[in-house]
Symmetry: C2
Subunit: 211 residues, 2 copies
């Protein structure tokens, strides 16, 4: 298809598509003349992914490019590509403070991972952004004096483990390795607002029931 | 305590505290002389909450002021204050598009709420920001062709309902009504990054197990 059709089918303006092409977020089309290129279903799918990352996920353009680059790096094996792509997704960063609350938080998180049986493997070193963000959030709860010990964190961890099984099942339904990487990125980002919205709606329901 | 001690105990600079006072995010201290005021434990707790909302939760100052104002509005009953405070928390907003994916998403969400038994009460009208955000995210998944029907959404909704019970138990542990409102706001915002971090870590674990 030509640029105009790609724009119409994706709902993304031609100006934005050209911007994504310049920024390397979308692979170039097949040149058919000096001024025209031909695009395929792969371009359409990639374009929708980029748009969802940026518009729904709030992922900055530079980070989106890193995610896409990691997903395409065929020198890595499947698990590594999957990890590189999702690790490139940005996390909101908390303050990196050197206070007693951070020490307490680190110990609570360690005890939690032990209880969950996540005692080794990826995502457990302090350099992993998700791990750092977890420690920072628990430290903020600690400073405010709210309960956030292993007992309170455990149900969250157990539910996250259940969701991971459902999520990876969805990823594995994709027939191609590249499709699986794209699905991992899209499902990681797009199910985050689903989960947070449902939690807030559940709070409203539960609060109405109690008060 | 004086301003200097409030600053030291909260870890917030005196300049920032003065800014929060001017912006109405922190109630004024008790004047003890023309240039000095006295602050109490209530100020310290409020200051930590404001800082956590803004720094960890990424809540803009104007929204934080609305949350605090709703939490303090004694003309509302307890459930309404709780709802007003947490509803004032911002949600990332997706594109409000009038396309077939939004219609499909709306129907999936309706079917989901029916299955969850959340068929009435707050948080269910289209004006609720959490509800709108849920529909937008499901529409984005639909457009990308990823599975997001009732079957896929149901485990998310069931887990959100379980978390709401744990969360409200923590809220109810607070002895005063104002403490409960503050806890609802803090726990809503601060457990969001906890949940998302744990989900990403669980993905890494589950992916390592499978691939």
């Amino acid at each position: 298809m030509r640029l105009a059709e790609l724009s119409e089918r994706s709902g993304v303006s031609t100006a934005t598509i050209k911007y994504y092409l310049r920024e390397g977020l979308l692979q170039p089309g097949r040149r058919v003349s000096a001024t025209q290129a031909e695009y395929g279903e792969g371009h359409l799918r990639r374009l929708r992914l980029v748009r969802a990352l940026i518009q729904i996920g709030g992922v900055p353009v530079a980070a989106a490019r890193e995610v896409i680059a990691a997903a395409e790096d065929e020198s890595l094996d499947h698990h590594l590509r999957l990890g590189a792509a999702t690790r490139a997704l940005p996390c909101a960063e908390g303050p990196a403070e050197d206070d007693p609350a951070v020490e307490t938080a680190r110990r609570s998180v360690e005890a939690l991972l032990e209880r969950l049986g996540w005692s080794s493997g990826p995502g457990l070193d302090m350099l992993d952004p998700a791990h750092r963000r977890l420690v920072d959030s628990v430290a903020a709860l600690t400073r405010l004096g709210y309960p956030c010990g292993t007992e309170q964190l455990l149900p969250y961890g157990q539910l996250a483990a259940q969701l991971a099984v459902t999520d990876l099942d969805m990823v594995e339904e994709q027939p191609t390795p590249t499709g699986q990487i794209e699905a991992a990125v899209a499902l990681t980002v797009l199910y985050e607002p689903v989960l947070l919205s449902l939690r807030r709606m559940a709070h409203a329901q539960e609060s109405a029931r109690r008060f």
